[in-house]
Symmetry: D2
Subunit: 136 residues, 4 copies
């Protein structure tokens, strides 16, 4: 029950060695995270950030890089949720090359729900908890 | 007869002043340029670069910034061609905010067709000349 | 009487064709702009943005790209000022490759002094006008 | 015996929430990695990549984000080495805010020494092994 974004690898995603520069994989993850809100949530992630001053800063990452992505590849970024706590959640990402489904990258990214103005950790509200259950 | 890409403004497009950082407008232009190849050309732009070692480096830009784009906006990036010479072409870009069609950015970007290995300027071949005529 | 920043070309500055991706040249310009404030102004540019909610959005660019920069090059980014009006100024940039002083890029970037909260154009204050005169 | 880079947080490092966007922390790490080569190695990292077609792709990351960095902060990026195997090494990074030494980010990044042309894993040569011992 994961959510998948299709994202083109762009000219600025590639580094001096001709492959996707490793920090760019996390941009791809964040784009899928935003796309999931656009697809499934009542408010977009930008709306949550800009108008409600709430968001999900990243607190921990575990990731593995298993194959390169190249300029011109299309990435399938699969997002699912591993665990939802009171105020944090662990998101699972898998990035595959569309043409042959080869796994290139996987990550577990822990995020905390937070009031971005006063930096207080917030309980994840019930409607958002329901939202994440779609990709459990 | 322009080509238009719809592109989401992403978290990393925005700067410390809360609006799209001005160099990012040129990324948006390049994405529309790539999308046009995907849509209309016989080879993708990455294929041209990676396998034919030919491409269109930028040699000159004139641009105007007339309104900000914000995180969460959708940008309409309109690409047309102003002039095709023997080996160079002038591309016109207009970027509008989708929600109200407000013009945010316009640019004339001159590019030269080049062999990327030996840095020799190349005549634009006839089939590519035909391609550009679609957006004249 | 220009101001010059030395900036290393980094792994993420380079694109799929192995040279500095053209929008990155504008990042280099902005870095030199920030460095000038750090060097010569009474407040840093981040302080101006974050604490005074004032800044210099870009309104127009004219630029020419004359030679590539590669990963590992050191860029000399020279900033001077061409014209100071009541509320706008035209900044001149030249980017050279340090090893052989080859000119790679030049630009005239017009910026307007603005209250970033209410988007009102502001008169450039006298102390800032004095500051710019150092690089006239 | 760590190596430390001082890096300014730039306008494009900051995201729509006004703090350093989390993937940018890995750019800071890579900049320190490059700076270490410039400081201590017989060849720069770009030279290794461009002329010897050898480099250190990232294969795994564990990282924790403990405090935000803001536009205008100066980051102290500390690089040391945790373990050197036959062909891989684990690099430790700590990023602190210069003004108060607050720890913002730490990571263990595993990299493999590789021939970038044929993607074969290489034994880390003795002179490079000696190099890393400086920051053990």
């Amino acid at each position: 029950m994961a959510f998948t974004s299709l994202l083109k690898i762009r000219f600025d995603d590639v580094d001096g060695a001709g492959i996707v520069y490793y920090p760019q994989f996390f941009h791809l993850c964040h784009k899928a995270f935003e796309d999931f809100f656009d697809d499934a949530a009542s408010v977009s992630y930008p709306h949550l950030i800009n108008h409600q001053q709430r968001g999900f800063p990243t607190v921990a990452i575990q990731s593995e890089f298993s194959a390169p992505l190249r300029y011109g590849d299309i990435a399938l970024v699969k997002l699912s949720i591993g665990k939802i706590g009171r105020s944090s959640a662990v998101f699972h990402y898998e990035i595959r090359r569309k043409k042959d489904s080869r796994l290139c990258f996987s990550a577990q990214i822990t995020k905390v729900f937070m009031n971005l103005e006063n930096k207080k950790v917030l309980a994840i509200p019930d409607d958002m908890r329901e939202l994440w259950k779609n990709i459990l």
